[in-house]
């Protein structure tokens, strides 16, 4: 079965020859027409459209955006803030970069519609520090939109005013976690806040109700308001509506970004038919399906899933439809849509050592299990790779990883332990044998750590 056609909604103009990030080009392509229509409607109606659309957050957790908006405390009398999470920093994720660099006005239009729908007067785009050009492009785009009265005071003569500012991060992964991001935007270390009581919808930025949405999520809002929530919900599959942008990296012939209806393409179709399969002479071995903290899948693996009527069905790894729910049922997650592919040249101990070095570097250090656990997982895997592997290392690693999840303030505790837990569960033999394997690894093997 060959792969279905891409359905490019968010990426409609990405990589299109002659499409430029300036407002004139955007306006020629119907830009800001949807905002123009949106501001004539009651905000509550727009929020209902988003709820009906079933849109789930595209940043990682897949939480329904309409529900997130409905949790906002609208009676506190305090201002409501909206923060665009453009701190794309989960390894394997690179979709938002293209939106920001090639179609910044799409994001600004989606953001302004979302602000109007939620009575937000001040929005911030928190963009990762490593995207200086992206930050400048967004600043220019906001200035252009302000000059045309799409941003700023009295938008399109409606009496509604809203400002957007770009705020640059400075290289810390944890700022992608929404309460860490809020701390960072307040000018502090990005230590995530404890929930309860600090749910952003109630006690967010400056202790005011705050919405934090991913770049892609806010772009979807623009299209939901355009076509209507009910119509949008027909795209994709039930409970996994709309399109998703998959970013494929690693060992395939054609890495890149691809936009498909959620759940309408399988893992095998994406990696073999769309991305061209493995490099010549290699075989695919493993894939991390949703950013590097998602649990790894092994090629050849089979899953037994429950049907609604209580019966079960068997699903091969290649046949997993790429949606939130099936990936979760298979013990992993759709996460940020970033797939990292590894072929049979990769030794899994070495790959895990690379991942562990990342999480150990990025722990904010607030909670002991994450700070110490990520550090020890890094130390153990790194020591193994550098010639001091021991027979008992697999058990030792498992012992450390199992003590982290559920014992930390934010999900980074889970995020840093899932790679170790899943690599051990799926490729345990490579860890058991690494003290032997290491001796036979070719000297010119590609270093991963």
């Amino acid at each position: 079965m060959s792969a279905p056609q891409q359905r490019r909604i968010i990426f409609q103009h990405i990589d299109e020859p002659g499409y430029t990030p300036d407002i004139d080009c955007y306006l020629r392509h119907g830009g800001y027409e949807i905002l123009r229509r949106a501001v004539t409607r009651p905000p509550g109606e727009l929020r209902d459209e988003v709820k009906q659309s079933g849109l789930r957050g595209r940043g990682g957790a897949g939480f329904p955006a309409g529900v997130k908006w409905s949790l906002v405390d609208r009676k506190s009398g305090k201002p409501i803030y909206l923060i665009v999470n453009a701190d794309e920093s989960e390894p394997g994720t690179f979709k938002d970069r293209y939106i920001i660099h090639q179609d910044p006005h799409q994001l600004i239009e989606g953001t302004m519609i979302s602000c109007f729908a939620n009575d937000v007067k001040q929005a911030y785009i928190y963009i990762r520090g490593e995207m200086p050009h992206g930050a400048r492009l967004l600043e220019r785009a906001i200035a252009e939109a302000r000059a045309k009265n799409f941003v700023g005071p009295n938008i399109l003569g409606t009496g509604y005013s809203c400002e957007i500012y770009v705020h640059r991060g400075a290289g810390a992964y944890i700022c992608g976690e929404e309460t860490g991001l809020i701390e960072s935007l307040e000018g502090k270390r990005a230590n995530p806040r404890i929930k309860p009581p600090y749910f952003p919808a109630v006690l967010g930025l400056y202790q005011c109700p705050t919405i934090v949405n991913n770049v892609e999520t806010l772009c979807h809002v623009r299209h939901i308001i355009d076509m209507g929530g009910v119509e949008y919900a027909k795209i994709g599959t039930p409970n996994n509506t709309g399109t998703r942008i998959f970013g494929v990296s690693g060992h395939v012939q054609r890495p890149g970004t691809y936009e498909y209806e959620c759940g309408k393409i399988t893992l095998g179709q994406l990696l073999y038919d769309v991305c061209g399969g493995p490099l010549p002479g290699r075989k695919l071995k493993a894939v991390i399906p949703g950013g590097s903290s998602a649990k790894v899948l092994r090629f050849g693996e089979k899953f037994t899933l429950k049907n609604k009527d209580g019966s079960t069905r068997e699903l091969a790894m290649e046949d997993i439809p790429l949606d939130f729910d099936t990936l979760a049922a298979c013990g992993t997650m759709g996460g940020s849509g970033g797939l990292i592919v590894m072929d049979d040249s990769v030794n899994m101990v070495e790959a895990l050592a690379n991942i562990n070095a990342f999480y150990s570097h990025e722990s904010c250090g607030q909670c002991t299990p994450c700070r110490e656990g990520s550090l020890w997982m890094k130390k153990i895997t790194s020591r193994m790779v550098h010639g001091n592997a021991r027979r008992e290392d697999a058990a030792l690693l498992k012992g450390v990883a199992d003590q982290i999840p559920g014992r930390t303030i934010c999900a980074m505790g889970e995020g840093c332990s899932w790679p170790t837990q899943s690599f051990l569960a799926k490729f345990g033999e490579e860890f058991e044998a690494y003290h032997e394997t290491k001796k036979n690894r070719p000297a010119d093997a590609l270093p991963l750590i």
Binding site: P91, L185, S249, E362
Partner: protein
């Protein structure tokens, strides 16, 4: 610490973006580092005074975020991505190539004060791995050969700053 008049203007403008001054900490540190290259003690005290904070409030921020440098680095800053997708496509070899070309270890400054190489975590361009940032510019699909070319351009002072 002598900040350019233009930096001072941009600093005053940045502060107006927030209802609470402390929020301007990161923007101010970015502006200062862009101007003078790093964040000395003096800058920490200056930002604290400017934002009506204690120096410790600024110091703890500077030390938390990897992009802020406490000591001068080279005029040209090479950041090679270390994380998984880049490593799978040869990121470590690219990093080694740069180190050899400039004869320095990571985070050092070449003797002429020209260049610093840093091995950083994910640069969010995994689909075109391995990637390298030179100053503000991203270079994609960087092979060791391409790294040698980029190094030669930097040494010749011809690497284009966009």
């Amino acid at each position: 610490m002598n900040l350019k008049p233009e930096t001072l203007l941009r600093i005053d403008e940045a502060i107006t973006h927030y209802p609470v001054k402390r929020s301007a900490t990161l923007p101010l540190l970015h502006l200062i580092q862009e101007d003078i290259g790093h964040i000395p003690d003096e800058a920490i005290e200056w930002v604290a005074a400017k934002l009506e904070l204690q120096p410790i409030n600024v110091y703890e921020v500077v030390t938390f975020y990897p992009m802020f440098k406490r000591k001068p680095i080279g005029r040209r800053h090479i950041k090679v991505c270390r994380t998984l997708s880049c490593a799978l496509m040869g990121g470590y070899k690219v990093c080694d190539t740069f180190k050899k070309e400039f004869g320095v270890e990571l985070d050092e400054v070449t003797p002429d004060g020209g260049t610093t190489i840093e091995f950083v975590e994910c640069l969010a361009s995994c689909g075109t791995a391995p990637v390298v940032m030179i100053d503000d510019d991203l270079h994609e699909n960087v092979t060791p050969e391409k790294a040698r070319e980029l190094a030669a351009q930097i040494k010749a002072g011809t690497a284009v700053r966009k």
